[in-house]
Symmetry: C2
């Protein structure tokens, strides 16, 4: 929708809602797309209550599932308990799980009490799976058929139960024990002769997800297989539910946000930036800043060891920021590359040796380029302003150049290996890798620089 | 699939391929999932040729579309021209566009010549849309019906033409002029009485994409609307094609990768990390490193202005890395937060004032915390090692503390505003924002630090 269309929708909505005619409000809301209604709620939170209250519970549930967490919480708090119960019972099981897992456990307990016995059982089962496992994404609302049914019977069955299933684009074949046999796309059923039996149209080529798989596996599997839904089984091959591709698109978007936030050096947060309370935002940020600050304090300690050298050759201090930031930049470049390639499954821990060889070469090349530029800068500057770096400017250029080479090589190596080490230790490689690497490289970079200066300038300036 | 299953599949494959019995190879490949065949090609590139050659062209095309670009290129180079032609003609139009847009234009010209006239026309049309527009994602293989058809007629039509359409999960209603009227999910058709006409089952609630929309719009639209495919129209409301959700999942994954690479300070690249040629990888990285390095050279210039102060009070130099890195960390934290929130559409340029107010407060809070820690560190250290910072250690602590406050506040402001400014100028906010911000903050941080030192320590040490 263009901006004008949004504005005119907002105006229309305000007109209708202010006339306060229930029938008209209902009709207006019924004519809108689910996503437009969600936009209206975001735009006019004060009418949240009226909007949700004046929609069929079926459509209200569809709107609810795409709202932000804060808006969802508001609605649950504001609705009368019977409406909340209706809404929660109507919500697809996977979206209900996604909502509940964000709430404090005492609230979850209260809300679960509102559910019908059947839905309560399902919800408790889904919440029992580990966070970020496929189990948390799945819904038990799928269509199952038996292998000896005719396609005519299948179509009749779909007409009977299809209203409540999350998708009818794929139908699942199970045996008497509830074990998964195969899946069929609805297109196969429609395109084939209705007298055939299910066993004749299945192709025994299927992809399943295990209920304990990580959600990232589901993302990769959907990416590599042109399916709109995948069956979820347990270790005994029992069909537990299905995962639909739209849920995976949400997960992909969220995973991405979390990775970026972590790389940027904050804890991940699940509320929109403009809505997260200021103190919560502060807490998420300050922890990592303090950790990094404590790490950086080592730079002061390291430089303390070289205080005498600096006193004798103050000119050395001038290049400290240049050298450590070059190490930091090459380190964050390398670490982001590796984290990103790991996130999309391009590289695994086992590739570390190939990565290391590539990065040694990259570090040498990158470092040489910066070393040459740095050396030229110092020599050129000295020929224009001979005062600045004194008579030993060529040697200073050599020290800075070799330091740059060393620091960039070192930064590239640490940057590429650190995320792999984190992963190997079972930690999330995205956690603050870039600033973390920068801190390590800063401290070691100083040592490289001043040690080289000590070796090369002794007798000259030191 | 578990690791054991993959290994056993690989073993089975090797056994079968080495017996070199064409029928057996065909049968084996036919039994496998598309994604497993793709895995086999990645694992055994030497048999690429045999694998693709021994599959039906229909399944070969499905495998081809999920391979990495380098593998795709290999296959096209190795297959005999008639096989290449078959494969390219079979490839869905959207996947063909995605492949061709990665190739040099002279190769594209050669390949387009291999296409049937109809497919050639479609491909040239799709390649005519701007890169990263919805037009590049769409396929013209959808099922269109008229408003006055009965559902029975629709089902017969689907049986007739459904084999070649990208999805039959959604059917599109158009009028005589080819204008888009509405879409119906196949479930609505199956669940309704077959004697009804299309006009009776459509609900006039639909979401369309414009062919010139950015692909990010498609991602957001799919996220917010529970659909598996969306119709694509032009400004005159003519239905041009459809976009399916699985293509969007690919785009989402790629966009994330590109954003992450840019934030990390490299140019985006579309080949897997381990396969990108070393010199290409080097080129993508060195450009930004040089740009940042040239920026960081200003730190040497800035420090040059304070050379006299450093000579008088060498102790000041010790805290330079600590101060500039704190500014850099707070800056990259803020910029990543803002870029990420912009990428998923949470904030817009128009929100700059709200963001600025939030970030001023955040910067003050974060800066105060680091300032206090820094001050305590210096005072505590001096009481243990009185030699290190001399007699004026309290004043040095004050200078460092206030500098930290200033630098962190400044880093937070630059970090949060810089991506918005880039966006306002029409540039990609992700481009190297974090290291770029760090560079700006490094230079200005030095000025803040030494200016404060000059003001507060004059007469004492300077």
């Amino acid at each position: 929708m263009s901006l004008e269309e949004i504005l005119s929708l907002n105006d229309q909505f305000l007109e209708v809602i202010q006339r306060d005619d229930v029938l008209e409000i209902r009709e207006f809301l019924n004519d809108q797309n689910i996503s437009d209604v969600a936009e209206l709620i975001n735009e006019f939170p004060e009418y949240e209550h009226q909007i949700v209250g004046n929609m069929s519970v079926h459509r209200a549930a569809k709107v609810f599932k795409i709202l932000d967490l804060p808006a969802q919480k508001n609605i649950i708090q504001e609705l009368p308990p019977n409406k909340t119960a209706e809404l929660l019972n109507e919500l697809p099981a996977d979206d209900r799980t996604a909502f509940l897992e964000e709430l404090p456990s005492e609230v979850v307990k209260e809300l679960i009490k509102l559910l019908d016995p059947e839905e309560r059982k399902i919800t408790l089962a889904l919440l029992g799976y580990p966070e970020s496992s496929v189990g948390r994404l799945m819904t038990p609302d799928y269509i199952a058929v038996q292998i000896d049914w005719t396609l005519q019977e299948v179509l009749e069955h779909i007409r009977e139960v299809g209203k409540n299933s999350e998708t009818i684009d794929v139908i699942y074949v199970v045996n008497d024990k509830g074990e998964f046999v195969d899946d069929i796309r609805i297109r196969e059923i429609i395109l084939a002769n209705p007298d055939k039996v299910v066993g004749e149209v299945i192709d025994n080529r299927f992809i399943t997800l295990n209920v304990t798989d990580d959600q990232e596996v589901a993302n990769q599997t959907f990416k590599m297989n042109n399916r709109v839904a995948l069956p979820v089984i347990d270790d005994k091959n029992i069909l537990l539910g299905i995962v639909t591709i739209d849920d995976v698109l949400w997960v992909a978007n969220e995973e991405f946000s979390e990775d970026m936030q972590k790389i940027g050096g904050t804890e991940a947060f699940d509320e929109p930036y403009l809505e997260i309370p200021l103190m919560k935002l502060f807490k998420k940020r300050v922890v990592w800043l303090i950790v990094l600050f404590l790490g950086e304090m080592l730079t002061a300690t390291a430089m303390g060891y070289f205080e005498d050298e600096i006193a004798k050759a103050v000119v050395l201090a001038l290049f400290v920021p240049l050298i450590i930031s070059s190490g930091g930049n090459s380190g964050s470049q390398a670490s982001t590359l590796i984290i990103q390639a790991m996130a999309i499954g391009e590289i695994k821990i086992g590739d570390w040796w190939r990565i290391l060889r590539r990065e040694i070469l990259q570090g040498l090349l990158l470092g040489t380029v910066l070393a040459i530029i740095g050396f030229i800068r110092i020599v050129a500057w000295s020929s224009i302003f001979p005062e600045t770096y004194g008579v030993h400017y060529v040697m200073i250029g050599v020290v800075v150049g070799f330091s740059l080479l060393g620091v960039v090589l070192w930064g590239t190596l640490i940057g590429s290996m650190f995320p792999l080490i984190l992963k190997r230790l079972g930690a999330d490689p995205a956690v603050s890798s870039a600033p973390f690497v920068a801190t390590i490289v800063d401290v070691t970079g100083l040592v490289i620089y001043f040690s080289l200066a000590f070796m090369l300038l002794q007798g000259l300036m030191l």
